[in-house]
């Protein structure tokens, strides 16, 4: 499951919530981060996990996929002769080529995701996972990221990379086993962008979009009649009563305009839309993600 969306919409929180839910259902699940930011492990107040599969909770693991480490691991699996491997890693020219080849970092990152999803993993002590969740890079780069295998397959027309890239492209676009979720916010532009993202994912990348999560939806705390009453109060009163009435009106207004965005989103995307509530919590930690995981359905 690849979790996509623009920056700042709560992709990591949703990815972790999806992970918690799957883990609570008994699925062995791993949440992969690809940006070296370790937001997921930070949510668990865990020290940085790096390029290691670390168990956060029962059935739930986390890894931060580093392209250099992935490359190294890939080469280790490809080359059986040890002397050759050592020579290769020490070689400046190899490191240069690896860094200079456009898209290679993205490719080996997706390669690692593929590897984690295999049931007969070649990596030493590799666990079998029932579900691999990817906290994808923000859109803008996100579609490009998922397209890397296909682009690569067309650049390198022969050789192992060509066939590997084809395998990865099939893996990404395998609708039966691989899906994407889009995380959106209930605002004008993010809704437009999510609709555009869905089109790109389906038409250009060819992946399945299973669900759109509308994150941060304000609860409808007040009815229209109550809002009118509060508007009068806000005009007549001073001090805390007035501030509280204004806060309530502001909540009411936002909740309403967000409902309008929700209907726009439903009209504009093909995938089913699921809403996630705004949590009035100063810091979104693992408990917030757990709260959301109960509402994922």
């Amino acid at each position: 499951m690849i979790v996509t969306g623009k920056g700042g919409v709560g992709k990591t929180t949703v990815a972790v919530a999806l992970g918690l839910r799957a883990a609570s259902e008994g699925k062995r699940t791993i949440v992969c981060e690809v940006s070296a930011q370790e937001n997921a492990s930070r949510m668990f107040e865990h020290t940085a996990v790096g390029f290691h599969e670390v168990e956060m909770e029962k059935n739930l693991w986390s890894i931060s996929i580093d392209p250099d480490e992935s490359m190294r691991e890939y080469v280790l699996l490809q080359l059986k002769v040890r002397a050759m491997r050592d020579m290769l890693f020490r070689s400046r020219i190899f490191n240069y080529l690896a860094a200079a080849t456009p898209g290679l970092k993205e490719l080996v990152t997706i390669g690692k995701i593929w590897e984690l999803a295999q049931l007969d993993r070649k990596v030493k002590k590799g666990r079998k996972y029932d579900l691999v969740i990817v906290d994808a890079p923000a859109t803008g780069h996100g579609v490009g990221f998922l397209q890397t295998p296909r682009t690569f397959a067309s650049i390198a027309r022969v050789g192992p990379i060509h066939s590997q890239a084809q395998t990865l492209d099939r893996f990404i676009t395998d609708h039966e086993h691989t899906g994407t979720a889009i995380v959106a916010l209930p605002e004008e532009m993010p809704v437009n962008e999510s609709a555009a993202l869905e089109r790109d994912l389906v038409d250009e990348v060819g992946v399945a979009v299973d669900r759109v999560y509308l994150n941060g939806l304000y609860p409808e705390r007040f009815t229209k009649a109550e809002a009118e009453k509060l508007a009068t109060l806000a005009e007549e009163e001073n001090g805390a009563a007035r501030a509280a009435a204004r806060a309530a009106l502001s909540e009411h207004g936002r909740a309403r305009s967000q409902r309008a965005q929700l209907s726009r989103l439903r009209r504009r995307v093909e995938a089913p839309v699921k809403t996630l509530p705004f949590l009035f919590e100063p810091e979104l930690g693992v408990e917030a993600a757990r709260e959301l995981s109960r509402r994922l359905g």
Partner: protein, 383 residues
């Protein structure tokens, strides 16, 4: 504490930087609008493919050419537009192609580069090329000198820092110094430098496939005549970024993560000796601090006034939620200010309506260009 108007006085370039999702595009558009309204000719550049800027400025679409925003649109919103506002959306690929066309010594080398598959990849997709092209276009517009101020909305990288490193990464790649020596088909270098290199190359070939390597060799050969031109240009771009007439504004949100990123980004700006102009925090919940004493018996007060205990409880609970968010924001901003050793944090409140058009921009503008006291006073009227 200087206002944003004072910070931008005498500036020719303003670069809005920050991580994704913090309202950079909106802020850039609002700043450009504000300065233009005061009588200058301003152009705002975005690289965001999501057409957000075009939407918010009421333009159907934006292209690689600057377009003027219809002054009548501002009038409708009650904004007096004394100057001119222009906008453009960078097409990194096209900008790169134009750059190649300018730098190529002759037609043949130009066609060789443009037709090369590696080039086609990096010009569109290589991490860093978007950022590099944004700076390139900025440089071009600045050199042409048609505008009083250029406002750049930086690309939506997850890590704001990518933006600063990108040009270096890309020029290093294009220079390909160490690589070109080895790639010459009949080069002696491979033999001279010994077995290690040739084995490494052959292994690499085996992994990536020969085609790719041949394309790379072709790419570097085609580029060889342009490397000096590129380097010279990159140097001038860097000089422009460090010039006192340029200013970097860090844009962030009030939550912990964006604040941490802003602190980090500011440190990198200082390390790179780039001119930091200030920090803008978007979507801030302003606290009603002065009311703390009254809040304790708020449910009772409200119940009495509303004649509805249930509603009163909900209003009070909602208010407490808002206050908690406001306190968090205040705490995070205090931390930000002390890390940046600045008092000049510009706080834009979380408005009741989300900002996506000129009316919204005008509203944000009032906050951006106000003094600190004015902002607090305006926000007190909000919530």
């Amino acid at each position: 504490m200087p206002t944003l108007g004072e910070v931008l006085e005498d500036k020719q370039i303003c670069i809005c930087a920050g991580s994704g999702g913090v309202g950079k595009t909106t802020t850039s558009a609002a700043i450009a609008t504000g300065v233009a309204a005061q009588g200058l000719k301003v152009c705002v550049l975005t690289i965001d493919p999501a057409k957000r800027l075009a939407d918010s400025l009421g333009l159907k679409e934006l292209g690689n050419e600057a377009k003027r925003v219809d002054p009548a649109l501002f009038e409708k919103q009650g904004v007096e537009m004394k100057g001119e506002l222009w906008a453009m959306m960078l097409d990194p690929k096209q900008t790169f192609d134009e750059l190649i066309a300018r730098q190529a010594p002759d037609e043949e080398s130009r066609e060789r580069v443009l037709g090369n598959r590696i080039y086609q990849q990096i010009s569109g997709a290589l991490a860093g090329s978007q950022e590099y092209m944004a700076m390139e276009k900025l440089f071009e517009l600045h050199t042409e000198g048609d505008f009083d101020l250029l406002v750049l909305d930086t690309p939506p990288t997850r890590n704001a820092l990518d933006f600063l490193d990108a040009p270096k990464r890309l020029t290093q790649f294009i220079e390909g110094k160490s690589l070109r020596v080895f790639m010459k088909p009949t080069g002696l270098a491979a033999k001279v430098t010994g077995r290690g290199v040739s084995v490494a190359l052959s292994v690499f070939k085996r992994i990536v496939g020969f085609d790719l390597l041949a394309d790379l060799a072709e790419f570097f050969n085609a580029f060889s005549g342009m490397v000096d031109g590129f380097q010279a240009r990159a140097k001038r771009v860097n000089k422009l970024l460090a010039d006192p007439s340029t200013c970097f504004l860090v844009v962030c949100g009030p939550q912990g993560e964006p604040i941490d990123e802003a602190v980090y980004f500011h440190r990198k700006l200082v390390e790179a000796k780039l001119p930091f102009g200030g920090v803008i925090v978007n979507k801030v919940h302003y606290p009603a601090e002065q009311l703390r004493a009254e809040v304790e018996d708020l449910p009772e007060t409200l119940a009495e006034k509303l004649g509805d205990e249930d509603l009163a409880d909900r209003v009070a609970a909602n208010f407490a939620d808002y206050q908690a968010l406001a306190e968090r924001d205040a705490r995070n901003i205090k931390h930000l200010a002390s890390e940046l050793r600045t008092k000049g944090v510009i706080r834009v409140p979380y408005l009741d309506e989300d900002v996506h058009d000129l009316a919204g921009l005008a509203q944000i503008n009032r906050y951006l260009f106000a003094t600190g006291e004015e902002r607090v006073a305006m926000a007190a009227g909000l919530a």
